[in-house]
Symmetry: C2
Subunit: 487 residues, 2 copies
């Protein structure tokens, strides 16, 4: 037996015998039947270059005798490898390793593993020990047992056709549960026929970008990912300024925008709700210009000081598209969101939506339907609101004590706050944070490149993400990274 082979892992793990026939050494290792193992061994020998192209294999009778297995097992293995293109069989010339397999690269000693176990854009290199980046909820708080219970009930109740091709709007069970929930909890005017289930906010924005015409106005401070998504779709975005009362919707007056994307309940990322007068003014604008408003209600469930502001959508369901998801309330890993569409947009969006792909898993839909209508969602929100309220208090209290010169805003709601920094200190603060192993976002990255108002320095602090034990140390690192007060 050749050394290189005898020493290989495969030979070491061999269950079968090794066969020597006409220069052919084979170890029938691994699982499966004899034919399967013989085929694997032959493929491996060809791949590794041990069996060169054109090499004639022993007649199946000899190999069968050598390996102590049935002749027709070997014959079947040869025939299948011929069919797969590894071998060729010609009358009079026997069975040979296929000629063109020559060009196959000799097996690399070890395939290069590409390590992307963590999501690079979010977690960064492993030396980042603390995560205060916004936009993820506490992964440790996911209600696993309740989710399994909802899965069990949903699978027992589902009709057979749930496992067929399905409805591009999503399962009716979930659309009914979402309509009921949004109407009750967010004042949304929703009927199941106007709801489309998505894999999240961005999926909805994708569809709307194709279904709507013309440029879209958006807040000058907003998620860069949304701007980029629209840009990649060929949609022009026009910034409107943001102040302490939210988006300055008066700027829409002379805008060529045909739609406006807003975060009325809690401006992202600066943190205030849209002022009541501006709510009325923007509804005026969409009516007088026949434009649409896209309401991104990304964290409407989390408000700490009093009840949440109701959704803007209730003011004009015929011109406002309401978009939400469970990415903040449960987990971004679920990939379930929804749009409540004006009647006039339902057909346009469905025409754009792929009929068969990029849908949400029906099992996730049915499970979430049970989770919503059975009360588990409300219970989960109550529990997590308490956790986040405590974290917010700890953040505010710690900063008041350790960095009283830094103003914290946007804390009435949601899972993040904004720390205002002295002008010109954002970049050095981010550098200091990185040195301390703290992942945190600066305000600059949220600013629309065409924004005209002066850029503001600040940090966007997500207090949802860390596990409980990790939150205190993350705050310590934050305080250490902040600029010192002027003297």
């Amino acid at each position: 037996m050749a050394d290189s082979w005898a020493n290989s892992e495969e030979a070491a793990g061999s269950e079968g015998g090794a066969a020597a026939g006409a220069d052919l050494y084979l170890a029938l290792a691994g699982g499966g039947g004899r034919r399967t193992r013989l085929m694997s061994a032959l493929r491996e020998a060809i791949r590794s270059g041990r069996l060169a192209p054109g090499t004639r294999l022993p007649p199946y009778r000899s190999l069968a005798a050598d390996l102590g297995i049935a002749r027709n097992t070997v014959a079947a293995a040869y025939a299948e490898l011929v069919e797969e293109g590894w071998l060729t069989a010609r009358q009079g010339s026997g069975t040979r390793v296929a000629r063109r397999t020559a060009a196959m690269p000799v097996e690399r000693s070890a395939p290069t593993p590409i390590d992307r176990t963590a999501h690079p854009a979010r977690l960064g290199p492993s030396r980042l020990r603390h995560d205060l980046q916004p936009s993820s909820p506490n992964a440790a708080a996911f209600p696993r047992a309740d989710w399994v219970a909802s899965t069990r009930r949903a699978m027992a109740a589902a009709p057979n056709d749930a496992f067929g091709v399905g409805d591009p709007r999503g399962r009716p069970e979930l659309r009914h549960a979402v309509a009921e929930y949004l109407s009750r909890a967010r004042g949304v005017r929703a009927d199941p026929g106007r709801i489309v289930i998505t894999t999240g906010f961005a999926h909805g924005l994708h569809l709307l970008a194709d279904a709507l015409d013309g440029p879209i106005a958006m807040e000058a401070y907003s998620l860069p990912y949304h701007r980029e998504l629209l840009r990649d779709k060929g949609v022009r975005t026009l910034p409107i300024s943001v102040d302490t009362h939210g988006a300055v919707v008066d700027e829409l007056r002379d805008s060529p925008a045909r739609a406006v994307l807003l975060t009325p309940a809690h401006q992202y990322p600066t943190g205030g709700p849209l002022h009541p007068e501006r709510r009325v003014a923007v509804v005026d604008w969409i009516r007088s210009t026949e434009a649409f408003l896209l309401e991104d209600d990304y964290d409407g469930e989390f408000r700490y000081d009093r009840e949440p502001v109701g959704a803007l959508q209730g003011l004009d369901p015929d011109r406002i598209v309401y978009l939400g998801s469970v990415s903040k309330s449960l987990s971004p890993a679920l990939r379930v969101g929804w749009m409540v569409l004006p009647d006039t947009l339902v057909d346009r969006v469905l025409a754009v939506k792929e009929d068969r792909e990029m849908w949400v898993s029906v099992i996730a839909e049915l499970t979430l339907a049970d989770f919503l209508s059975g009360g588990a969602y409300d219970r989960h929100l109550r529990r997590t609101r308490i956790t986040y309220r405590r974290r917010r208090a700890l953040l505010v209290e710690t900063l008041a004590r350790r960095a009283p010169h830094i103003r914290v805003t946007g804390i009435a709601a949601g899972l993040h706050a904004v720390l205002e920094l002295p002008t010109g200190t954002e970049e050095s603060t981010l550098r200091a944070a990185r040195r301390l192993g703290l992942a945190v976002d600066g305000l600059h990255r949220y600013r629309h490149p065409d924004a005209t108002t002066p850029a503001r320095d600040g940090l966007v602090i997500g207090y949802g993400t860390p596990a409980d034990h990790a939150f205190g140390p993350a705050l310590e690192a934050l305080c250490a990274a902040l600029p010192q007060p002027d003297r």
Copy 2:
């Protein structure tokens, strides 16, 4: 109490009292606390037009007294409705219905429900009683109990970070399980680092359309949806002929295509496996032209007369992209598929893939990983193979008896067969089928519009979809729809 109000459903279902104050009648119906119910009643009154824009509301003290609820409850409700834009409050002029709310449409008597409970393209109108359209497995066979058990185990075993933002390639647990399964069952050379989890084949094709350059050759008979997807992405598709040995890959020799999309295990829809010599020839072509081969292994698990042909990918993992999914083997409703990429394409595909959206539900991923590695998938395949083999036998036997003049092909594998029809009879046969309430596909719709070979008449019969009790009657309808033999 005004008649129009007293007679309304809301008044009839009222739990609270009805209040008369300053022309304001309110029934506090529905669930929630008093403030919530009051707010709902006010919003409803404004929406319905009962409370006209500019109408002054009673002072909160009077309304509180009328309704028998606390003053600050009413005050809070007013304040929130001001914040939401329904009401305005000005010093000295009291609380009024917001002016611009005037433009709100008066509530339609009943919102028009848009009924799309069934997927229109697949099931058609409800008078279709029999479904022999190809491409869906038997929905009734979904292994619900095993799936719930896998969910339970997966949720118990998942690390917390599974519920965070995650890896754009998909969870490592699933990529490992898929690599192990594909290597064992399909002869695919897969390591988890080169696998990307998708929502199905078309999601993979979307990504590849953006990651690859130049036109893509595809079989002249193939799924129209895939052609349309590529066309919508701006990718030119070039048909190559299909005969009884599968795609005529020799036609690639002078083709400007930079990639070729094939269904080597079971040509879709005509049904044969790619001939061994053509397997070798197409690998030759991708090597000599540095093109890529996209291997659509959509039903490789279902082969009835002997073991499945191994995947082509094993012949050249550096130039062949392997694509598969559970849409045929488990359910299209799960929306889980995979790509095994050449090393050189991993970064290009990940650069195209949205970082944060259009991912598969992590819970579906973790559950499927358990389902694959715990053996439930193999058990399910064994069970369903028996069912489908029986159906295939019944199809062949029924046609031999009832329509011996019709040739059936493509029955060695998969969930569908092709019935060859006399030239010029496809359209009339489809019409006859529709009259009998039978949904079935003609061969013409699969033909590439640029194909040069003559069009063939035929039916593509999916025998996977119907429930067991419905299969016999569907076959009867099929036989009745077929053209009579020439005399």
